[in-house]
């Protein structure tokens, strides 16, 4: 085939037709793209408006974490009303997973006045997240907890997704703490520098000191861990840091796990009469409670190892910090 024949042939016509269609399509799409392109700012505005329910102007706020159970990802101050919009990731979900939520924190008179809309953004490993109901998310606004601190123990949960509910509560609490810190209202955490606090909810934990008997009664609230949600445990520690009484007031074992906990953990006899060294001796090979793996080889490996882990963490927290609490209390008395 000669060059002349090629240019007069059907193949050339087909090529030209295809190229023309492609060219016109390309030009058309280029023009349309420049006209209809959605900018990142526009996307952000839409996302914010969708969550907030109306068009608002925002100002980005530097993020920081003030709650060990939550991570703050993004935060914005709403210029129109002074409220905050916080993207917070709550820990303590199913299989140690997380739930990330957008939380509107209402501010009035320089103080947190409530929680507004809560919208789930994403989650990790939460198989039952679809069970989380809108009425549960609405309950943060319609039925606020005291000090706006929400726990599943206070009924902030969706049945069938209690651990995801726990992660959502943590996300909301993290957002509230963040805003409180921004407003300069975050209460000082007296237990922040104590030992063995990684599984302890220091915000919900308190203690009573008896100056006469030198006894300290710890009212401990644990964090959630894996399948175990928050435990409430009262631990009495006598002089020399020896535990004299250990009572679980709220068992955080979910489903049938409670029956698989070690009986001596359930009735507290495993920890009673022991100081911190005695408690650590329960573990093998000088393990330090830094992770659940430190229970390996001990009698605490049962069908409810995660619950046992939280319980021994509470015992260790109480026994190890007896001295710190007495110094704190005596220092307070001297100041008075």
């Amino acid at each position: 085939m000669s060059v002349k024949e090629f240019f007069k042939g059907n193949v050339f016509k087909c090529l030209i037709a295809l190229l023309c269609v492609l060219l016109v399509s390309g030009i058309f799409l280029t023009v349309m793209n420049s006209l209809l392109y959605v900018t990142d700012e526009e996307r952000f505005e839409r996302a914010i408006n969708k969550i907030y329910g109306k068009s608002v102007k925002t100002e980005s706020v530097q993020v920081a974490d003030y709650n060990s159970n939550a991570t703050i990802n993004e935060a914005y101050k709403i210029k129109d009303d002074g409220n905050y919009l916080v993207k917070s990731t709550g820990k303590g979900g199913f299989e140690n997973g997380t739930v990330t939520c957008w939380v509107v924190v209402k501010v009035k008179g320089g103080k947190v006045s409530g929680v507004g809309k809560v919208v789930i953004d994403s989650n990790k490993s939460q198989s039952y997240i679809s069970k989380i109901s809108q009425s549960f998310l609405n309950s943060f606004e319609s039925n606020p907890a005291a000090d706006f601190y929400f726990t599943t123990a206070d009924g902030y949960l969706t049945s069938g997704a209690s651990m995801s509910s726990n992660a959502i509560c943590n996300a909301v609490n993290g957002a509230v703490d963040f805003v409180n810190a921004q407003l300069g209202n975050l209460a000082e955490d007296i237990y922040a520098d104590f030992m063995y606090v990684s599984n302890i909810n220091t915000k919900l934990t308190s203690h009573e000191y008896n100056a006469e008997t030198k006894e300290v009664v710890f009212h401990i609230a644990t964090n959630s861990f894996g399948n175990a949600v928050q435990f409430s445990i009262d631990v009495t520690v006598g002089e020399n840091g020896i535990i004299s009484d250990y009572t679980i007031t709220k068992n955080g074992s979910t489903g049938s796990y409670a029956s698989q906990m070690l009986p001596s953990v359930l009735d507290g006899t495993l920890f009673e009469g022991k100081d911190i060294d005695g408690i650590m001796a329960i573990l093998k090979d000088g393990a330090d409670l830094g992770s659940i793996g430190s229970l390996n080889g001990s009698e605490l490996i049962t069908g409810a190892t995660q619950s046992n882990y939280l319980c021994i963490s509470a015992a260790a927290f109480a026994a190890a910090n007896y001295q710190a609490v007495t110094e704190l209390e005596q220092g307070g008395e001297e100041n008075e």
Partner: protein, 215 residues
């Protein structure tokens, strides 16, 4: 019968792409669990189908026969991309609800089918009417099934909760398949009865004319 009336009735009823030709089943089963998504998909297909029919019909004498299918695909893909941009800019909720099915309109057999079977052989006006009628037929079918599935499957209509009674299975693609089958059966039954009645009437008229002539 008027040419345009026939094209319109064919697209809407007698050759309805969803109920009679069973085309475009992928988005049908994927989206009819929500009436809003179903109607949105139908209207998007309507626009793409009408525009592609018009363009392909206008270019039918320019595009060589051996490369017509690649050219049609490029044209349809361009229109679908344009619709994606348009929806993302102006109707972001609908864009989100259609998800991946929006891009899949490119391979929707209704659009390529009408381009090949009708637009490549007819004028621009007829092709535009064909596109609109087929698009409306598709939209109506999807919307009706979307309403049924959403109402029975979620107890809501276009997102507004109406009742608490729900048959959850009907809000899934499996339930949609069931509803689709029942709708086809009902639609075909009605059309069959209509056709039969029309034939009986025509026969009766012919017999009367014959008797008149004999008399």
């Amino acid at each position: 019968m008027n040419k345009y009336k026939k094209i319109t009735l064919d697209g809407l009823i007698f050759q309805n792409p969803t109920f009679m030709l069973v085309l475009g089943t992928c988005p049908t089963l994927g989206l009819i669990s929500s009436a809003f998504s179903a109607m949105g998909m139908g209207l998007t297909v309507l626009v793409v189908l009408t525009l592609s029919n018009i363009i392909i019909s206008a270019l039918r004498k320019v595009i060589p026969s051996s490369v017509r299918i690649p050219c049609y695909i490029v044209i349809i893909a361009t229109l679908v991309t344009f619709m994606r941009m348009f929806l993302e800019k102006f109707l972001p909720d609908l864009y989100d609800s259609l998800g991946g099915f929006l891009a899949l309109i490119v391979v929707n057999c209704i659009i390529l089918g009408r381009a090949e079977a009708f637009a490549s052989k007819n004028g621009v006006a007829e092709s535009a009417v064909d596109g609109i009628s087929n698009g409306l037929g598709f939209t109506a079918a999807l919307t009706v099934m979307g309403i049924i599935c959403e109402f029975l499957g979620k107890g809501s209509l276009f997102g507004a909760q109406i009742m608490n009674f729900q048959i959850g299975m009907l809000a899934t693609p499996a339930g949609a398949f069931l509803v689709y089958g029942i709708c086809i059966a009902v639609f075909v039954y009605i059309i069959d009865n209509f056709e039969r009645a029309r034939r009986v009437k025509a026969n009766k008229l012919a017999r009367e004319n014959l008797l008149k002539e004999e008399a």
